[in-house]
């Protein structure tokens, strides 16, 4: 009797809660694994975990938020600091554009090399508020800065990485057009902080897995939760993208993890054939119970592959190319625990291809003419497509790199004269050295079909103070990747397209791509370093010269100068005797 009444009291509130908020859609979790064989014997593996969620405060009558599938450690700081959208990404390794045939990894939101934090945060203008500092004294700081600092600290703690700005003013606010918001936002400002010195390591993987509802224990995340295997791959990128719920819309947070595996074994036969168990040392895992969908996809390459057991084949646009994609539903209990093998038809030993198809659009950056403190950035934008592309090329530099705008030149590679007409607009946001801040440049470029553009930006590196150098100053300092934004891509959703069945598989149309941005690699710049062992010696020597000068000057200025009469006997003197015919010069007094 007592027990049943207790059970009744426990159940009733839940019923009331469910009935009161029936219009709130439940949280949904989707995961997918995409395998994309690359032409040079490598395989790109992309894990994606997407959670759709409503505002955590809606599904509970209590004032506290209720999280079932969503991580409170991620969403609560974002909600408290009025962040509408956030993207954090870590990238390590270099994506080889030429050999892979793709302009970048399949995770389109992965940033350039190193770490990157960007997002949309509510703009409080120049409102200031009191904030307690470490010493206990409160001081007025800008509200925007305070919220940004709170976010980067929370995220840094979450990802075991230093994600905050290393010096004041390092966060750039001019990239709003490059990273537009997904929804309609008013009074929100964009912030962008690249950290090119960050690397990706196990400390970043473990918190990533703990953010997932499956926690690396079941579903596809169990394949990912093997750092010994994952971190032996070449190029790796990890990241999250959070879109907070707004205006009744559901929010979405998405985590991705992509790596590039070399399929050719080190020893033995050069055979590209692979299977899930060879890749992950596990068979297909049991699905995560709360997952709404769990999909494995294989992007079929141009060469014929045979897959056992095979899945459903569909045609999709992948990064501007119409390809066939084979899909498996991993929630199907018949495939759980099975191993899937992939072989290339009729291929015994793998032969590395002699030629590679370069992607339709690519960009690369180097520094040339490096002399002492000067240099020139040389940016190559290649367009192999049939159509002209409108792009924005953006650069972000720390305050010690100063560009010379009047010496910027734009050439087409096969022509000798400059093409300033291809630069339709230039936005320049200078830094304020020596205060910490960044210089950003946005070039609005029009790249003609079948052309290569060369953009030359001469620059000078400032000499840094003793305390501004890194501990290993001779290594140099990295500057973040340049970003080429493609303005005319429409996405891969082909439902708006009338008829895809007539287009042959393999047809390339660069507009049907979800890749809006292509990144260059980071650059390591040599900074002129002083001798770090010398502070005492320099002060001593410079002050010695100053003291010598001061002493001599003071002596000269303050001593009296006068004439004394010296008796003739003691001093040799020159006497001039003028005669009629000759001039005699007698020297007296030299006998002593």
């Amino acid at each position: 009797m007592l027990l049943s009444s207790l059970i009744l009291t426990l159940i009733t509130p839940t019923r009331v809660r469910c009935s009161g908020h029936q219009d709130v859609p439940p949280d949904a979790f989707h995961e997918s694994l995409t395998l994309h064989p690359l032409p040079d014997g490598k395989l790109s593996v992309l894990f994606e975990f997407t959670t759709h969620f409503s505002s955590p405060f809606l599904s509970s009558e209590l004032t506290r938020s209720h999280h079932s599938l969503t991580p409170p450690s991620l969403l609560l700081p974002l909600g408290q600091n009025d962040v509408a959208e956030l993207t954090v990404s870590f990238t390590s390794g270099q994506w080889d554009r030429r050999r892979s045939g793709q302009a970048g990894p399949l995770a389109y939101d992965a940033g350039g090399g190193g770490g990157e934090v960007r997002g949309w945060i509510k703009d409080y203008g120049s409102m200031e508020e009191l904030a307690g500092s470490d010493s206990g004294r409160q001081k007025l700081i800008n509200r925007n800065d305070r919220r940004r600092t709170a976010i980067t600290h929370a995220l840094g703690g979450l990802f075991c990485a230093g994600l905050g700005p290393s010096e004041e003013g390092e966060v750039a606010g001019t990239f709003g057009a490059i990273f537009p918001p997904h929804g309609k936002l008013q009074n929100y400002t964009h912030f962008f902080l690249p950290r090119p010195t960050e690397t990706l390591c196990t400390e970043n993987l473990t918190p990533f897995l703990s953010l997932l509802p499956s926690k690396g224990l079941s579903g596809l995340s169990s394949l990912l939760a093997q750092p010994g295997i994952i971190f032996s791959w070449g190029f790796k990128t990890e990241g999250i993208e959070v879109i907070m719920p707004m205006d009744g819309q559901q929010g979405q947070w998405r985590g991705w993890w992509e790596g590039v595996v070399d399929l050719i074994p080190v020893k033995g036969r050069r055979d590209r054939a692979f299977s899930i168990s060879r890749l992950f040392h596990k068979t297909l895992p049991r699905p995560f119970v709360e997952a709404d969908s769990s999909i494995m996809r294989l992007i079929l390459p141009a060469e014929k592959m045979s897959v056992k057991p095979s899945g459903e084949v569909r045609r999709e646009w992948v990064d501007g190319q119409l390809t066939e994609v084979m899909e498996w539903d991993l929630l199907d209990p018949t495939i759980t625990g099975e191993d899937v093998t992939f072989t290339w038809d009729g291929e015994g030993e793998f032969q590395y291809p002699w030629t590679f198809h370069t992607p339709p659009m690519s960009v690369s950056r180097t520094a040339t003419d490096l002399v002492a403190q000067d240099g020139t950035f040389l940016i190559r934008v290649e367009n192999h497509a049939e159509t002209e592309r409108r792009t924005i090329y953006s650069e972000l530099w720390p305050q010690w790199v100063k560009p010379w705008l009047h010496e910027i030149s734009l050439y087409a590679e096969d022509e000798s004269k400059a093409r300033p007409d291809l630069l339709t607009n230039l936005e320049y946001h200078p830094a304020y050295p020596p205060r910490g801040s960044t210089t950003t440049l946005h070039f609005h470029l029009t790249v003609p079909a079948h052309s290569v553009l060369l953009l030359r930006i001469p620059f000078t590196k400032l000499t840094l103070k003793y305390t501004e150098h890194r501990p290993d100053a001779e290594r140099g300092r990295e500057i973040p990747s340049g970003i080429l934004t493609l303005l005319d891509v429409v996405g891969e959703d082909a439902s708006s397209q009338t008829d895809t069945s007539s287009i042959p598989v393999g047809h390339v149309d660069p507009r049907w791509s979800g890749r809006k941005r292509i990144y260059t690699s980071r650059l390591l710049l040599d900074v002129p370093t002083p001798d770090f062992s010398m502070p005492y010696n320099v002060i001593i020597m410079s002050c010695t010269v100053m003291a010598v000068f001061f002493g001599l000057m003071q002596g000269t200025l303050t001593r009296r100068v006068g004439f004394v009469e010296v008796p003739m006997e003691l001093a040799p003197s020159l006497e001039l005797k003028v005669d009629d015919t000759s001039v005699e010069i007698a020297v007296e007094g030299l006998k002593t």
Binding site: H406, P528, P530, M553, T556, R560, V561, F563
Partner: protein, 429 residues
């Protein structure tokens, strides 16, 4: 305003023509001119032609040139050189050669004013002009297209007008040259002494007041212009690197390595010490050399050239040229050969060790720093030498010998002879 009616002296014209020809020939060689434009010994962030072009370009685009940190020239230069617009790189060599000639003419005018218009002095005019125009540092500074040449010419014009006792034109030009560089304002007492005529009613204070009013007026007028957005003068003061030393670019001065190696805690203190050290000599030198304010100006300019925040080799051009106007001081120098030899030595070592540090990478910063120390120490010793020589010259000029009876030509009627000594007790002026 100073009228450039150059008397067609047959001795001066060949000097000017040769100087122009040499400069034009060096400008034709793009290798030499571009190499010199990038030398840190000749070019500092405040005087670089590259940043002048950048500032003019940014202004044409509509940006504020002082925002980026590439442009720290004074707004007067920004306004003046913006007039040339796109053609500035082409016209600049001719402007710089013209400014050098103007400076040389001003120097000749100083010499003639000082020495009176004797026939002896006319022969020396070409020598004075030649010593200024053929000074290798002057030629190098001109070919490097640094604004040091512009500053030097303005300074020489100011001094020439002051030497001619023309107070109002001198004060206007003084206001201009103190706006374009930070340190000439410290020449105010010396210029006031120079410009004061020696008649009874004039006083140094009155001249100083005129100069001060001119400077104050020019600053106020430029701030009112900045309200209307024409000249961003207050921004340029904020960006002005002379006082706050925001850039640590290597140069031939004593400051850059000192402040590179310094911890932030002491930065403000030592900035104050170095600036104070630079200006502390103004009053004592002016008091000690009040018999010859032009010499005081020359010595103060050489002190600034050695101890200012961003010196270049071209800053010594004006003091070296002015010294040519004092032959009596030059004979009293104790070690002129030593100073000249060490100048030649550092002339070779400074670019060599700089490239060893930054271009080849086989040396480190200490090599260049040591050469800078040698250059600074040598300049300091030379300044002290010149100061000592000028004091001795002044004492000799004031010496009044007892009257000698000319009819009595017995050779040893004099009791003894006069020797110039320096006493160890403090002076009582």
């Amino acid at each position: 305003m100073y009228s450039k009616t150059a008397k067609t002296e047959p001795a001066r014209l060949p000097v000017f023509i040769t100087a122009v020809v040499i400069r034009l020939a060096l400008f034709q060689s793009t290798l030499i001119s571009s190499a010199l434009q990038h030398r840190p010994e000749l070019v500092s962030p405040q005087t670089s032609f590259r940043s002048l072009l950048e500032g003019v370009y940014l202004r044409r685009l509509g940006y504020d040139p002082y925002d980026g940190g590439t442009f720290v020239h004074p707004p007067d230069y920004l306004g003046f050189f913006s007039l040339f617009g796109r053609h500035l790189p082409v016209i600049a060599p001719y402007v710089w050669i013209l400014l050098d000639i103007v400076g040389a003419l001003a120097l000749v005018e100083i010499w003639t004013t000082r020495s009176g218009h004797h026939s002896l002095s006319k022969g020396r005019e070409s020598l004075v002009a030649a010593l200024y125009l053929f000074n290798p540092y002057t030629i190098a500074t001109c070919v490097a297209l640094t604004t040091t040449s512009v500053d030097n010419s303005l300074l020489l014009l100011t001094i020439a007008l002051a030497a001619q006792k023309r107070a109002i034109p001198a004060s206007l030009l003084f206001a201009l040259s103190s706006r374009t560089a930070a340190y000439p304002i410290c020449l105010l007492p010396a210029l006031a002494m120079l410009v004061t005529p020696s008649c009874k009613g004039a006083s140094v204070g009155r001249s100083a007041a005129i100069l001060l009013v001119a400077c104050g007026g020019s600053f106020l007028s430029s701030t009112s212009l900045s309200q209307s957005g024409m000249l961003c003068y207050w921004k340029s003061i904020d960006a002005d690197s002379s006082v706050g030393l925001p850039f640590l670019t290597p140069n031939v001065g004593m400051w850059w390595y000192f402040f590179t190696e310094m911890f932030d805690h002491f930065r403000h203190f030592f900035l104050g010490v170095f600036q104070f050290h630079c200006v502390i000599y103004v009053i004592p030198v002016c008091i000690r050399l009040r018999h010859d304010p032009l010499l005081a100006i020359a010595i103060l300019l050489s002190i600034f050239a050695t101890w200012k925040s961003y010196p270049t080799l071209g800053d010594m051009n004006v003091p070296a040229g002015l010294l040519a106007c004092f032959p009596e001081v030059l004979t009293e120098l104790k070690h002129p050969l030593f100073s000249l030899t060490v100048y030649a030595y550092t002339f070779i070592l400074l670019p060599l060790l700089h490239s060893l540090w930054l271009v080849r990478g086989t040396g480190n910063a200490n090599f260049f720093y040591a050469a800078t120390m040698v250059h600074g120490l040598n300049s300091s010793l030379a300044i002290v030498d010149v100061l000592g020589a000028s004091i001795r010259t002044g004492a000799k000029a004031r010496l009044v010998l007892p009257a000698v009876d000319l009819e009595d030509d017995k050779p040893d009627s004099r009791k003894g002879e006069m020797q110039l000594v320096q006493l160890l007790s403090a002076v009582d002026p």
